[in-house]
């Protein structure tokens, strides 16, 4: 027999769906089925049950093989590494809960580390732009209940946030949007005709890397001023038409993703997208929202901001927080060879950093805290597998619209496994003793 756990939160993407139902065995130890989740969320829950899962910390030996060690030994190794390093980098945080992030920051303060989250390779440039000119935003609930003009700029939610469109942005019938997708107009800007673009009323197949030009053209078109015949590969008639659609709505929203944050122009692309939103508010109500990737990258930004004053790329080396992306950001620190130890938690820089940085990680003393086997665990000296947050441990997480949601524990972790927060407490206590901190 199985029982159903309801209102489970999905710990995959920033949409943080909160309507999952998970069937577990009567003893509460095994997940047998997942309902309502997308294919990625389902895989996350089911993979946690894999029989070949690594359940104990492993230390890499000189010949490349692994030796199983206890959590106490792993905490000792990690604390010693942090104590010896002059400038360690603590990177990740986005696939764990806010409680663990806060605990990690205590370690960072003691070790005078650089602390960075996955915004470094995701929406870091968005955060710079928000500091430049602010962000007129709203919650996803408002989008569901009010929005009748939706723009997806440089993002592909059909693949990256699979239930975003059905829960919030296109299909749901809200309080003022009773006809669902029938009274919403969808504009997609992407250099490829993606699966999201195929659903659009207007798809602007922008020349890759020319988002800034097109956003600028939108500001001109909104004012009805002169445009050249073609901007960023788009005929001017199409730009005027799209601008008119956006102006004629009652409430609109621009969702944007990696297409603008990672292309050349970077933070300036976002500056311009926010400026378009500001201009649109002369005609109607408009908001803008980044499509955050990891389920708790927003939470890491929040916790870092209220503890250190900055949302990512924090450098505590001098004993106080400094922030200067391009200098204190992970990619630049690793590329320049500025750090002498690497502590990774809840992310996979081995797979998602440029190779130049991965090679540097492989040459450093390194610890990887992650339930999975990953390229990062493959090049780190110590791999500490922990319980899956959101599946085997609860905790606070922040949705992409900055709404905090409490994740639920659904099943027990395999016997003897601990959560990342518990491991960080062990490391903190040991580091305190080494450093002689009261």
């Amino acid at each position: 027999m199985t029982k159903i756990v309801t209102d489970v939160i999905c710990p995959f993407c920033g949409t943080l769906c909160d309507d999952l139902e998970v069937a577990v065995t009567d003893d509460g130890k095994k997940i047998t089925e997942v309902y309502n989740a997308c294919v990625i969320g389902t895989e996350k829950f089911l993979h946690s049950q894999a029989s070949d899962r690594v359940t104990r910390p492993r230390l890499m030996q000189a010949d490349g093989s692994y030796k199983e060690i206890s959590y106490t030994e792993a905490a000792e190794y990690t604390a010693q590494m942090m104590a010896k390093a002059k400038k360690p980098l603590m990177y990740g945080w986005s696939s764990t809960n806010c409680e663990a992030q806060s605990m990690g920051h205590e370690i960072a303060e003691m070790a005078k580390a650089c602390v960075d989250n996955t915004a470094a390779v995701c929406h870091g440039t968005t955060l710079i732009a928000v500091q430049d000119i602010g962000l007129p935003t709203c919650t996803l609930g408002e989008v569901k209940n009010r929005a009748d003009r939706i723009v997806f700029w440089g993002c592909n939610p059909a693949h990256a946030h699979p239930r975003h469109m059905s829960r919030y942005s296109i299909f749901p019938r809200g309080f003022f949007t009773g006809k669902g997708h029938k009274n919403r107009k969808l504009v997609v800007v992407d250099p490829r005709p993606t699966d999201t673009a195929k659903m659009a009323d207007i798809h602007l197949q922008v020349t890759q890397g020319q988002d800034y030009e097109l956003l600028n053209a939108f500001r001109v078109a909104l004012k009805g001023e002169w445009l050249p015949d073609v901007v960023a590969g788009i005929p001017k008639e199409k730009i005027y038409e799209a601008a008119d659609i956006l102006k004629s709505g009652r409430f609109g929203i621009i969702f944007f993703g990696m297409g603008v944050t990672q292309s050349l122009g970077k933070n300036h692309n976002i500056d311009e997208a926010i400026a378009v939103t500001k201009d649109l508010n002369d005609y109607t109500k408009f908001s803008i929202m980044p499509m955050r990737g990891h389920y708790n990258v927003t939470g890491s930004g929040e916790v870092m901001a209220w503890q250190f004053g900055y949302p990512y790329s924090v450098d505590l080396t001098r004993g106080f927080a400094r922030y200067n992306p391009g200098d204190t950001s992970s990619i630049d620190l690793l590329s320049r060879g500025d750090v002498d130890a690497m502590f990774t938690i809840g992310s996979d820089p081995g797979a998602h950093f440029p190779f130049k940085c991965v090679k540097k990680i492989s040459e450093l003393p390194s610890v990887c805290i992650d339930p999975h086997l990953t390229p990062t665990s493959g090049v780190s000296k110590l791999h500490v597998p922990v319980a899956f947050n959101g599946v085997e441990a609860g905790g606070s997480c922040y949705r992409m619209d900055n709404v905090p949601i409490d994740c639920r524990k659904v099943v027990e972790p395999p016997e003897g496994m601990i959560t990342d927060e518990q491991f960080l407490i062990m490391v903190r206590d040991r580091l305190k003793k080494i450093k002689g901190v009261a």
Binding site: A160, P191, P325, L373
Partner: protein, 134 residues
């Protein structure tokens, strides 16, 4: 042998999402991310059938992946490698003082490499770290 030049972008695909949650040590991860999606016209210019192994080279590195016909096209002149260690061998790591590497918009050269193998994810990173050709 013909070569073509395309503009490389990387990003999420739903298959990539499933594969990273299913285990990055598994062959499914390679099937999902060790690929380059090319427009049919570019494949024709390359003189390659779909599902041919190709070597993709930029000024920052080189990697072997499988060339497949695009699933979200047409996008002539653009190559798409889902985000992961294969794409990150060749993307532009420069941040231009923003902290963000240029994951989208790297000029690359694609050439047929039928006799070369696409490596598994973790194996690829470990080999590359040892300085071996991937």
């Amino acid at each position: 042998m013909a070569t073509i030049n395309v503009n490389l972008i990387s990003g999420r695909s739903i298959q990539q999402g499933v594969a990273i949650e299913g285990g990055k040590e598994k062959p499914l991860y390679r099937t999902a991310c060790g690929i380059i999606e090319l427009d049919p016209s570019d494949l024709k210019k390359l003189g390659a059938w779909k599902n041919t192994n190709v070597r993709v080279t930029s000024e920052f590195g080189s990697v072997v992946v499988k060339a497949i016909e695009t699933t979200q096209g047409p996008h002539m002149g653009i190559g798409f490698i889902p985000m992961g260690p294969w794409a990150n061998q060749i993307i532009n790591p420069n941040t231009y003082s923003t902290g963000m590497p240029t994951f989208k918009g790297t000029p690359v050269k694609v050439e047929v490499a039928v006799d070369q193998q696409v490596l598994l994810g973790i194996e690829l990173v470990q080999k590359a770290c040892r300085g071996e050709t991937v």
